[in-house]
């Protein structure tokens, strides 16, 4: 698979590579970095915004955004934690993103949970407290309203998003290979 894929290069200075292999663009806006956990081998591309500063108002350490391995935050995508009124006070809730998650360019994600092996196409809007289970595809330009639950092995599309298809049983392998392949191809220009 991916025998003819070409390398995606970037200028060496534009991205920071961490010890665990994360590649983070210098032009990505990362607020509240202490509240963000990256699992390793994840890519955060140019212009994306991660709002780690929107933390729970109570004292103590809170993880706002946690992300697994082999994830991709596309160009200009925004990840922000969902918030709501709870017992008379406005509170933010953490965003949990598992392994092998690709979030396309220009997405706005306020999901509560994104399972492993999820692909979100370009220009999607994922509403507050959306739960996306393992292995799902959100086709480009889909809008998922607040609180939508996306079950495993489903394909969603439209505004508002609806289930349009189911995935083949091999999707887990396909998606994992795709994410690993993308990470390996994303490298600095020699």
């Amino acid at each position: 698979m991916g025998a003819f894929d070409t390398v995606i290069t970037y200028d060496k200075g534009t991205h920071i590579e961490t010890d665990t292999g994360n590649k983070v663009s210098r032009k990505a806006t990362i607020a509240g970095a202490t509240n963000i956990i990256l699992g390793g081998k994840s890519i955060i591309q140019t212009g994306s915004i991660l709002r780690g500063d929107l933390r729970r108002s109570t004292a103590g350490q809170h993880v706002v955004i946690s992300m697994g391995r082999y994830c991709l935050i596309g160009e200009g995508a925004i990840i922000r934690p969902p918030g709501k009124m709870y017992k008379g006070a406005f509170t933010f809730y953490p965003v949990r993103i598992s392994d092998f998650v690709h979030i396309g360019a220009g997405c706005i994600v306020e999901a509560a949970q994104i399972g492993s092996g999820v692909e979100i196409g370009k220009g999607c809007i994922i509403g507050k407290f959306v739960i996306i289970k393992d292995l799902a595809v959100i086709l480009p330009n889909t809008v998922l309203p607040e609180g939508t639950v996306v079950p495993s092995m489903s394909v969603w599309s439209g505004n508002p998003g609806r289930i349009v298809d189911t995935l083949p049983e091999t999707y887990q392998e396909t998606m994992e290979a795709k994410c690993k392949n993308y990470y390996q191809r994303f490298r600095p220009a020699a």
Partner: protein, 577 residues
């Protein structure tokens, strides 16, 4: 570009019809959609597998519904999941108190409480519009059943009719008809036919003769009416629950009401067809009158081999997780084929119009000529130019493609690539295909960690040059960060290849094959005929030889058993415009 694989749909594996037959497309699907039955040693596709429902679940609350309850719940979630009548996204439960106090005085912590309503976060619809309010935020479907039991009059009528007929179906089978009662009807004779036949055989005054003549022929059925009825189904008359007279249909009051509403709301007030699709024709069809529906359940499917003597499980899902208990997919058995790296042959100077000159030559001759040209090697005459795969092909040009095959097995395999022979009268294809490398090997898939390491070390691009460049790459050790493990794994891979006794000669003499990891890349040459139009598609027959494990254990040491498997792939090289 991934290619399509053929499934023979239970037929013995034969080469599928060529692409010029549009009907052949139904037997091709992408590799990731195919299954593989080890017992039958055959590819199976979604169209031919036998499907059973393994479990039901609600896509919104993800509750696993026991299959015993599914029928009673009418295949919909019986908990609190409703879909919006306007936009079909799922509704959320909201306490009404919190809305009012939230805006007015957010500082005062008023506990949100009943009544609860359903709201749609997609289009801001709320169940207040149809007057639905609930006391508890749980078990909405149950609460609704208590308060609004008859939301559609036709539904109760349908249920009553179904119950009436159910009693007919569920009554015990009729007693075995005695030889005397030959007139006992079979079950499949409809009620109407029975009534008609009863009427025909009724005794009429003055027609006693006819019935008397008929009776003896009925092989001695007694004159007793009771006996005649042996085996007859007794079905009572069905009486409808409501009558149209009660509803006042005759006075047309409903229509008047409808027209009034329509006048008020305009055409936009009528619900669109896709919103009323799953409802009866009877009833209010205004958009404002549509009620939220419980969300339909989804299923997880078990898939079996369709072969009548096999029926082995190919897919068995786990109800708890996304993992499969049994997963026999073709991806783990067949090499994965990809097409890429398109190049157009630029013929220099005089032979620039090669397409038109070859027009006059028969295809066989052209083939010969090309073969010769090929044998001469890559002379200075021919130059190749890279092209994007998306660009349309040009008629009369020669293109070369690279075909990559990736081995999913832990043993090296040997490939034979041929062009299948179509039926005799098949329409002529719009191109000529030449396979310069027909026999080659593919290295084994390695352990995931070894593979990953190698991937990380090597450059993922396969040498940009010709096929020879790739071959030389195989021989040399990669420079740069190449550590000890990298070279070691390479050597062992080579030794495995050489170890295969029958393939030794072949692997030595391999040219035109580019190898990397468990992928081998060979060239394809496609000559588009000058008058060609439309899609350029062709089938390839791939036969691979692999080592079968089971046989080698049977005492016969040293001699390894090899097996072959043949499959067909369809290559869509592009479009001629």
């Amino acid at each position: 570009m991934s290619l399509l694989y053929a499934c023979s749909h239970l037929d013995p594996p034969i080469s599928p019809l060529p692409p010029s037959y549009p009907s052949s497309s139904s037997s091709f699907s992408p590799l990731h959609n195919l299954y593989f039955c080890e017992e039958c040693d055959a590819v199976r596709c979604d169209q031919c597998v036998a499907v059973e429902v393994a479990s039901y679940f609600c896509p919104n609350c993800l509750f696993d519904v026991p299959s015993a309850n599914v029928r009673a719940d009418k295949n919909r979630c019986a908990r609190s999941c409703f879909s919006c009548p306007q936009c079909s996204s799922s509704l959320s439960i909201q306490a009404t108190d919190s809305i009012q106090s939230g805006e007015a005085s957010s500082s005062t912590t008023s506990a949100p409480g009943p009544p609860y309503i359903l709201t749609c976060s997609g289009c801001r619809w709320s169940s207040k519009e149809v007057g639905w309010e609930f006391e508890k935020p749980t078990g909405i479907a149950l609460q609704l059943q208590k308060t609004h039991s008859h939301n559609e009059p036709i539904q109760s009528e349908f249920d009553a009719l179904k119950e009436h007929l159910d009693s007919y179906i569920s009554t015990n089978a009729p007693p075995i008809p005695t030889p005397r009662s030959t007139r006992a009807p079979f079950r499949h004779i409809s009620h109407l036919t029975q009534m008609a036949s009863k009427a025909l055989h009724r005794d009429l005054s003055g027609m006693a003769g006819s019935s008397a003549r008929a009776r003896p022929r009925g092989s001695g059925v007694g004159k007793d009416g009771e006996k005649e009825k042996v085996g007859w189904d007794v079905l009572g008359e069905y009486e409808s629950k409501t009558s149209w007279k009660q509803l006042g249909l005759e006075s047309g009051l409903e229509d008047v009401e409808k027209m009034k509403k329509l006048e008020y709301s305009g055409v936009a007030g009528v619900a669109t067809l896709d919103r009323t699709w799953d409802k009866s024709w009877n009833g209010n069809r205004m958009a404002s009158a549509i009620l939220p529906q419980r969300i339909p359940l989804q299923t997880k499917l078990t898939k079996r081999c369709p072969h009548p003597t096999c029926r082995h499980l190919l897919i068995q899902p786990d109800t708890k997780s996304v993992r499969m208990k049994i997963k026999m997919v073709a991806m783990n058995y067949l090499p994965h084929a990809e097409l890429g790296r398109r190049k157009r042959r630029v013929t220099s100077g005089s032979s620039a119009g090669g397409g038109s000159s070859e027009n006059l030559i028969s295809p066989e001759e052209a083939e010969m000529r090309r073969r010769e040209r090929r044998l001469r090697g890559k002379g200075p005459l021919t130059k190749e130019e890279d092209e994007s795969m998306d660009r349309p092909l040009e008629a009369g040009q020669v293109y070369t493609f690279a075909l990559a095959l990736t081995n999913p097995l832990y043993d090296p395999i040997q490939i034979r690539l041929t062009q299948p022979h179509g039926p005799k009268n098949a329409p002529e294809p719009n191109h000529l295909l030449y396979l310069p490398t027909q026999h080659f090997t593919i290295n084994a898939l390695k352990d995931a960690w070894a593979y990953d390491e190698e991937e990380a070390e090597e450059d993922p691009t396969f040498g940009a040059g010709g096929s020879e460049a790739g071959f030389s790459e195989e021989g040399t050790v990669t420079t740069g960060t190449g550590t000890g493990t990298g070279t070691l794994s390479k050597k062992s891979r080579m030794s495995i290849l050489v170890g295969g006794s029958t393939r030794e000669k072949r692997s030595r003499g391999e040219t035109g094959v580019e190898k990397k990891g468990n992928t081998s890349i060979v060239g394809l040459e496609v000559e588009i005929l000058p008058e060609a139009k439309g899609k350029v598609e062709f089938d390839l027959e791939v036969r691979y030889t692999y080592r079968a494990d089971e046989v080698s254990e049977k005492g016969e040491k040293g001699k390894e058993e090899y097996k072959t498997f043949t499959f067909w792939i369809r290559v869509n090289a592009g479009q001629v415009e």
